[in-house]
Symmetry: C2
Subunit: 395 residues, 2 copies
Amino acid sequence: MKATGIIVEYNPFHNGHLLHLQEARKQTDEDVVIAVMSGSFLQRGEPALLPKWERAQMAVDAGVDLVVELPFDYATQQAAIFAHGAIEILGSLGVSSIFFGSENGDAKVFSSIAKLVTEESVSFKASIRRFLDDKANSYATAWNSAIRELAPDLTLDLAQPNNILGFHYALAIAEQGKNINIATMSRKSAGYHDQSPAHHSIASATAIRHILLANDWKTAQQYLPDTTLVILQKYRETHSFVTWNDFWPLLRYQLISAPTDQLATIRGVSEGIENRLQQAAIHAATFDDFLAKTTTKRYSTSRIKRTALQILFQQRAHDTASQNYIRLLGMSANGQQYLSQIKKEISLPIVSTASKANPHLIQNDIRAGKLYSLAPSLGDQVLRDFHTTPYRKKP
Amino acid sequence: MKATGIIVEYNPFHNGHLLHLQEARKQTDEDVVIAVMSGSFLQRGEPALLPKWERAQMAVDAGVDLVVELPFDYATQQAAIFAHGAIEILGSLGVSSIFFGSENGDAKVFSSIAKLVTEESVSFKASIRRFLDDKANSYATAWNSAIRELAPDLTLDLAQPNNILGFHYALAIAEQGKNINIATMSRKSAGYHDQSPAHHSIASATAIRHILLANDWKTAQQYLPDTTLVILQKYRETHSFVTWNDFWPLLRYQLISAPTDQLATIRGVSEGIENRLQQAAIHAATFDDFLAKTTTKRYSTSRIKRTALQILFQQRAHDTASQNYIRLLGMSANGQQYLSQIKKEISLPIVSTASKANPHLIQNDIRAGKLYSLAPSLGDQVLRDFHTTPYRKKP
């Protein structure tokens, strides 16, 4: 059995994801599709709309064979760290290829640029630093300019969110020396940032979240597979969807009342941004208001949200990252078979149920799960993440 | 002009406090009464029912000449530290005497025991440690036993809350070498812990808070001077009374999601109590529920609440205590006159408005004020404490 890997958030799983999944099978022709999925908190510094357990079930019910969690320490970080963690997991699970959507759509471009950057890593890093010296440049702009300088013939627009992720997947494969093929499909429908549906059956996850938060099920069902709809509707019978609004009072408390020198030790807090965030928290009534007061050209909304999440999570920069590991969230019969076949070759530790795992290994994900569970929208389920066993779909 | 000092919380100012104030004037025969009052948070580890500004006004309107704030670093600590800070302030303000209520009622007993303890401090400390070795002993019990051993002829029951405070006032005066007389009155009416009114016009502050929280104004007015009633009723038109319930979601967040090793660095957290508190927070629905799950013979409710407050406030044990200072909250014409008369002799820094003070000096009280302001009961007034000027009563 051979496997292909996809890297996902499924927030929630929609028709575009289904298309991506089907294309992954078709284009790579592997027997098994493994999804590395973010858990409670996502790369753009946001809580997931609903818990990882419901989202893993959506994935498996829609055809993914194995869903494993990307640990918090990678899932909530900038693209380079995010990609490093995901590729390490997929490599450990023995995938032959990865498959991702990108604005660019040409796998060779990703591989070639990643190879160049790895070979020229010293001059490339110097080049990024030089572009960042211009305070008007964001990280994305600086990376883009450095790549254009390095490879003027290869066109890869890193201002596009899926290109930048794809580039970092390719780079992580090159840096980790993994023998993993790259396949990509062009994302033609529904721009990632687009909030209004652009196609009759496919919309961006952002647009779909807006529709769901507005309780517009009639519109929502147009963009969601039935497998997702069933799970979402059951979930909504007893819970609300989770947003930053659930955590705003807690973030505001941290920003307003924590010692400033303690805030300065948080991961991602630099250049005195803690003072800016503290001031904004005093005068902001809502999280959106807080974002409006803090976002600038240099500090993108995503970067502010990511930093805000680290503050909420109280992750100190000096804490050493824990070892990566493979936490099983859900699997099909096919996925179970693949897992038992390769089990002995997997180098990373495997965690099936958190309560039975090495507490030191998974401590940050335990904390992240507990923090997420404090969302009033969820009701009270502080220990759910600790005791839940992976979802197993019957054949 | 000569002054006497009283040490108060006025949570809120009631008829018993009025009696104490009148007795202070009568028994000491000084021209001026100075009250050192706790600010937003109190010695038993609780938020004040309403802000320091309303409480300072109650005090001045009822006849106190000068109200100064006991900084958070002293106000929320065990009796020895609490007393040290209060006596340092009163000493700096040049009082000739202090006056307090006690269960014992005999000033000479306090002075004599304080003198003995100061002289025998090495053997006394060893004695306390010995009694604390018995894990069944609380701090109060250990102190009590040590004092009985040191001074078998002098009877002072330190299990009584006002005796223990009075003893520490006397001890602080002796240790700081201050020339301050001690006067005390016996507290005959309304046991401090008593929740039901025992006298037709005097009830404990605890009982009165219960009455006010139940919105029973008819009963409340029996125990409160008109000056207090007017201020309370005006306050309640736009705000609710503040309790631990306001802060329970924030405390629970800290306990459940902060890194355990970070909790262990908080002031007052020792003997692995952080694990006990974390476990209780997971299963407790309310702050009272949390207290019920954590209080034991060794860990009194007050000690748990004090520790909980330090966790909420995120005060690290290794932070050096800031210098003591005199923050003016309110004054009568008489108080203003006294202040301008002795101003040049005051050794501690004086703070009139927080926004104009040395930020480093008052940083913990700024933080405490902001934290307190996050109580939903208060509505939004994060910067009130920062900009408010002392209350001045017109002659």
